[in-house]
């Protein structure tokens, strides 16, 4: 019990030193629990919306899912009438929707003729349209007016009506798939919509407007009183044609919710991934804090050992202390997570795009928060605890603090872990994996890559005690700029002229790259020492030197004297920097690969696509083709077909006008003739042809989603999978013959010789404005917009990583504070012999900068390594080149120095406030 008392009193007394550690835990736990709370709340909200919507429905009839392909399926509307006749059915309500994969098809315009979007942007919540028979319930209530009944009447949800603005009785012009049309608003309705806008028509009008005459998408069912739901569903089931099915209310909700839940699940996992990174960073900080606290308490521990505390008691007291800190951190972290979720939701709600949500705190979230927080604290305290147990009782009689003596064992362990990580990563890159137990091959592969990367990281972190001291010293000695430039220069040269680039095997490539990184690192060290030796005679410059001889020297000594602490702090920062660098390089490489690959294959001058990336009527394509000044235009479509008669498998197929030759799209034909593809030929990717053993002229049976089969001849193979990202391509007329939809995803058009691009473009835009909401771009703009998407993604990832960097930053502050506290006596001495406050502050600041720079340098190095490994592992069709964003890398190093300065502000202030006497007389 005395152990608990000791620990508790100790925590209360040293709350100050534990405060920043606590923040690290709180941040990690908060991120984890916030991710859970946010996603659970979202899921609950969507569930309840759909449950509301389905509350008046006992079941639903819908077409059976196609085995493959993206054919919109419908059932004849006569089925609704037939079902209505069944005695068990009270009401069978037929419904149509515009299309399953496209939004913003019926958009209201304001008095100026401009489209009105919720939140004023196409990227905001969508405008949806559906049929409505006027029945209230399920969260839908008429706010004003009467149910629309006629081809020129419409009902709107109240929010959208307010936005346009429109009142009952107003005539409003809409942009529809058939051009602009005017409808009279007959009703506004209250509807839980999650920010989306709803445009409702009566059923018959909707059929006409949606181009689905005689068809329905679903029929919702309610049960006649006196009949059970099961009886009703069974009766309906018996009456259904073969291609339709009936599902009960729970399944209706589940199907509606499934997509949302999938998206929410992805969001949650991504957030948790970043939370994991932040936690990983916290581990280093907690470890550091305990390691320092134990050095500080060396004498006390020695005394306890002398008067009879066992090793186990000492160890346990540290672990219990960590447990308590973890527990406190978890409680605060959970609260912080709740706040975090609330804030994000408030942000969304302020932007207007978010439904009123409940706040869901599942037991799972609480368990996760506590286990994560406590586990992180306890795990990272284990090593310090073991070391504390080994403190000799004689330490009670010594005044100086002895160093921990695990140097060599840690180096050996670090080397083993590093090698293990490289082997695993190498295996993963080579695609060498076997299914282990219930784990699939891909899972094992991912584990190899992930664990390999983490192991490499930990290995480097453990080994960093060898180089942290000297490197920090070197950095301080002034060679920083020179060293970095020289090192990066050598690294660059090695990258450009390096061995092994021609080696196709990714493992060899990885190994050769690892060598290059080692050489680059050697380059840094070599460069520094050269510069240092040159400077030694004259004045020292650079970081340490420029701070003035005394404090620069002391800062350098301080950073290099406790390599374990310096390395652990730097490594916390390194994690974040590594990931930022990796993401930055991959993003840059992806961007250059994408635009590089497309630049060759894209021959067209204009690109037109729907803003929601949905499909659109091919009439738009035809109209564009007619525009004066357009030489050629083709729609591009994608779908799925089944190869062979039995088990050939389902593959994606692209369709475009192959008779246009290579003027619009150049798929880089390898064998055969592009001209032979139309009408009944296949254009096969060289890779797939290889895999399947296809030769030009082979006959391949192809089955379409509608069940039709047709024999095709392999007409040509292509190699540019960037421009055609499916294994097969066919001519667009062949597509028309075999698929029931004739909608395009994309239009590529070329300009006639000598035509004026601006004029042609405005003619095309006139057509697309009429037809809906489209983007029209020329080649440059199109490629830029693709880069923009990659940029958007990388900056989103960087925001998330920024959080981990913030935690690491806290860690730097933590270490510097601890080291200032630890050196109280020394600082007092400096003050006593005449050191000014400024000098003390400067000393602390430079130490901080050195630690940060060290972390950033190692991080950039590892980041380059991991990025190279990743790029090597990703198929060339996706990323085929490595491109280093130099500005970002240099910028990272600059920011790291700056962060070091900022991190030192408080500790430097603390240090300079020490009075010489107080500092010298302080015993512990």
């Amino acid at each position: 019990m005395i152990i608990f008392k000791l620990v508790w009193r100790r925590i209360r007394a040293s709350l100050g030193s534990l405060l920043l550690t606590l923040i690290a835990i709180v941040a990690g736990v908060g991120f984890v629990s916030g991710s859970f709370i946010l996603s659970d709340s979202l899921a609950a909200t969507f569930n309840s919306i759909f449950e509301d919507a389905a509350s008046t429905v006992d079941g639903q009839v819908q077409p059976k899912e196609a085995e493959f392909g993206f054919e919109p399926r419908t059932i004849p509307d006569t089925l609704a009438t037939e079902l209505q006749e069944l005695p068990e059915v009270r009401k069978a309500t037929p419904q149509v929707v515009y299309s399953n994969d496209s939004v913003n098809n019926f958009i209201a315009t304001d008095t100026d003729g401009q489209e009105v979007y919720p939140q004023g942007s196409e990227q905001g919540p969508p405008v949806l349209t559906a049929s409505w028979d006027g029945e209230e319930g399920g969260g839908l209530l008429i706010a004003d007016g009467v149910v629309p009944n006629g081809i020129d009447e419409v009902a709107l949800n109240q929010g959208y009506a307010d936005l346009i603005p429109a009142a009952v009785g107003d005539e409003i012009e809409f942009v529809t798939p058939d051009g602009r049309k005017t409808f009279t608003v007959t009703a506004t309705v209250e509807l839980t919509t999650g920010g989306a806008a709803f445009v409702l028509f009566d059923f018959e009008s909707a059929q006409t407007l949606y181009g689905k005459e005689g068809l329905v998408d679903t029929v919702s069912l309610s049960t006649e009183p006196g009949t059970t739901v099961e009886e009703m569903l069974a009766a309906v089931e018996a009456a259904l044609p073969e291609d339709a099915e009936v599902i009960d209310q729970a399944d209706v909700v589940a199907e509606n919710v499934a997509d949302f839940n999938q998206v929410i699940g992805i969001i949650r996992n991504v957030l948790l991934g970043f939370a994991g990174v932040a936690l990983f960073v916290s581990l280093f900080i907690i470890y550091n804090t305990f390691a320092v606290l134990i050095t500080q308490r060396m004498r006390q521990i020695g005394m306890l050992r002398a008067i009879g505390a066992t090793r186990a008691q000492i160890r346990n007291s540290i672990v219990i202390e960590a447990f308590a800190v973890g527990l406190i951190g978890s409680i605060i972290g959970l609260a912080a997570g709740f706040l975090f979720a609330l804030l994000i939701k408030a942000g969304f709600q302020a932007a207007g795009g978010f439904p009123e949500t409940k706040n869901v705190l599942l037991p799972r979230t609480i368990i996760a928060a506590f286990s994560v927080g406590i586990l992180a604290a306890v795990l990272s305290s284990l090593l310090p605890a073991v070391l504390a147990g080994r403190v000799s009782p004689i330490a009670a009689m010594r005044n100086e603090r002895s160093q921990e003596g695990v140097f060599s064992s840690r180096v050996v362990a670090g080397a083993i872990v590093l090698v293990l990580g490289m082997v695993l990563l190498g295996l993963g890159l080579a695609g060498q994996s076997t299914a282990i137990g219930s784990l699939g091959e891909t899972t094992v592969l991912l584990i190899e890559l992930g664990v390999g990367a983490i192991a490499i990281f930990l290995g480097v972190a453990m080994l960093s005690i060898i180089f942290a001291g000297p490197l920090a010293d070197l950095l301080g000695k002034g060679g920083f700029l020179g060293a970095t430039m020289l090192g990066l220069g050598v690294g660059l040269l090695l990258l450009i002229f390096g061995i092994g680039d021609g080696v196709p095997d990714s493992v060899l490539r990885f190994i050769s790259f690892a060598f290059k990184v080692i050489f680059a690192a050697l380059g840094i060290i070599l460069g520094t020492s050269i510069i240092v030796s040159v400077l030694r005679g004259g004045k020292a410059t650079g970081i340490g030197g420029s701070a003035g001889a005394l404090e620069g020297h002391l800062a350098r000594r301080n950073a290099s004297r406790s390599p374990q602490r310096t390395s652990a702090t730097a490594m916390a920062l390194t994690i974040g920097i590594t990931l930022v660098t990796t993401v930055g390089i991959i993003g840059q490489s992806l961007k250059e690969s994408v635009s590089g690959a497309l630049e060759r294959g894209v021959q067209a001058d204009l690109f037109i696509y729907d803003n929601s990336f949905g499909s659109f009527e091919s009439a738009v394509t035809t109209a564009i083709e007619e525009v004066d000044g357009i030489e050629q235009a083709t729609g591009i479509r994608q779908n799925e077909v089944k190869i062979g008669t039995g088990d050939g498998g389902v593959v994606g197929v692209t369709a475009y006008d192959t008779t246009s030759g290579t003027d619009l799209i150049d798929p880089a034909v390898d064998q055969g003739q592009l001209g032979d593809v139309a009408p009944n030929g296949l254009l096969v990717s060289a890779e797939y042809a290889d895999e399947q053993g296809y030769e030009i002229g082979d006959v391949v049976p192809v089955e379409f989603p509608n069940g039709n089969s047709q024999d095709f001849t392999v007409a040509a193979t292509f190699t540019d999978t960037a421009i055609i990202d499916s294994q097969l391509a066919i001519d667009i007329t062949t597509y028309d013959d075999n698929f029931s939809d004739d909608k395009d995803l994309f239009v590529a058009a070329s300009l006639a010789e000598g035509s004026d691009e601006d004029r042609v473009r405005s003619d095309v835009e006139a057509i697309t404005d009429e037809a809906g909401t489209f983007t029209v771009q020329n080649t440059g703009e199109y490629l830029d917009s693709l880069s923009g998407q990659v940029d958007g993604l990388t900056s989103l990832i960087n925001y998330m990583l920024g959080f981990a960097l913030f935690v690491a930053f806290i860690g730097v502050v933590n270490t510097i504070v601890l080291s200032v506290v630890e050196r109280t006596r020394e600082i007092g001495l400096l003050r006593a012999v005449g050191g000014t406050r400024r000098q003390i502050r400067s000393m602390v600041r430079w130490e901080s900068v050195m630690v940060c720079l060290l972390g950033a340098l190692v991080g950039v190095g590892l980041g380059v390594l991991f990025a190279q490994a990743t790029v090597a592992a990703i198929p060339d069709s996706f990323i085929d080149r490595l491109s280093l964003p130099w500005e970002t890398l240099v910028f990272t190093l600059l920011i790291a120095s700056l962060a070091g300065m900022v991190a030192a502000v408080i500790p430097a202030f603390m240090a300079s406030r020490r009075s010489p006497l107080e500092a010298i007389s302080s015993a512990e």
Partner: protein, 248 residues
């Protein structure tokens, strides 16, 4: 020289104790074949210049460090045969310590510090004995205070009481007055004297101060790892003379 050990049972003894640090050229012999006994109920001092091996001898006999050769006994228990846990237990139950730097836990009260060894063992202290020890400190009304609220002399009295509290077979002191001025130092030494005379305790103290040594029953002089002289019922002047003669 009067044989003061023969009539009494030894609370602790060393036989042929050797302690060697390092190896090869850098080898240092801290103790060379030292044999010594500390009798029950006696207050002994160990003196000697820096590096004479006096601290090493005490540490090895107190089970804080291990001998390179020879044997140390506490009571009749040979220390070399004990593992770390058994040794820890021995220190906890049979040995008391007084440190130069007091070494109290700043977060515990004076009384909590005094009973710490028993608390670590998970035992209840003997309350009659504890009352006696606490009253001997003369700090009865300050037992609830933290060390930070006590003067240096008071803190060291608490530390001595901690060493006494478990009624150990022997108490080792490492320059117990080294951090105190001469007045408070003599108070502590009187307190230790009282512990031996009135409470029947056994104390071995390492010191370099002849005045401190004069409070003890017997002084051992160490130089270069060996016992070079011994004195019963020492006076300050006699100790001074011996030290001076050793210096020659």
């Amino acid at each position: 020289m009067e044989d003061v050990t023969s009539q009494r049972v030894a609370a602790a003894r060393a036989v042929g104790a050797q302690k060697v640090y390092g190896a090869g050229d850098t080898q240092v012999h801290a103790l060379r074949d030292v044999s010594v006994e500390f009798a029950e109920g006696q207050f002994s001092s160990i003196m000697g210049p820096s590096g004479s091996g006096k601290s090493t001898l005490m540490q090895c006999m107190a089970g804080l460090d291990r001998l390179s050769a020879g044997e140390a006994f506490v009571g009749e228990v040979p220390l070399s045969g004990l593992g770390d846990n058994a040794l820890t237990q021995l220190r906890r139950d049979k040995i008391g310590f007084i440190f130069q730097a007091f070494n109290l836990i700043p977060t515990l009260s004076a009384e909590e510090n005094i009973v710490l060894p028993m608390s670590l063992a998970g035992r209840k202290p003997d309350s009659d004995w504890l009352t006696e020890v606490i009253s001997a400190t003369g700090l009865g009304d300050r037992m609830g205070h933290r060390p930070g609220e006590l003067s240096g002399g008071q803190q060291q009295r608490v530390a001595v009481a901690r060493a006494l509290a478990s009624r150990p077979d022997i108490i080792f002191g490492d320059e117990p007055t080294g951090n105190l001025d001469s007045k408070t130092g003599s108070e502590i030494l009187e307190f230790m004297r009282k512990a031996v005379d009135q409470l029947g305790q056994t104390i071995v103290m390492v010191t370099h101060d002849p005045i401190s040594a004069s409070y003890s029953d017997r002084v051992l002089f160490l130089a270069d790892g060996s016992i070079v002289d011994e004195m019963a019922d020492p006076t300050t002047d006699a100790v001074f003379d011996t030290i001076r003669s050793l210096g020659d």
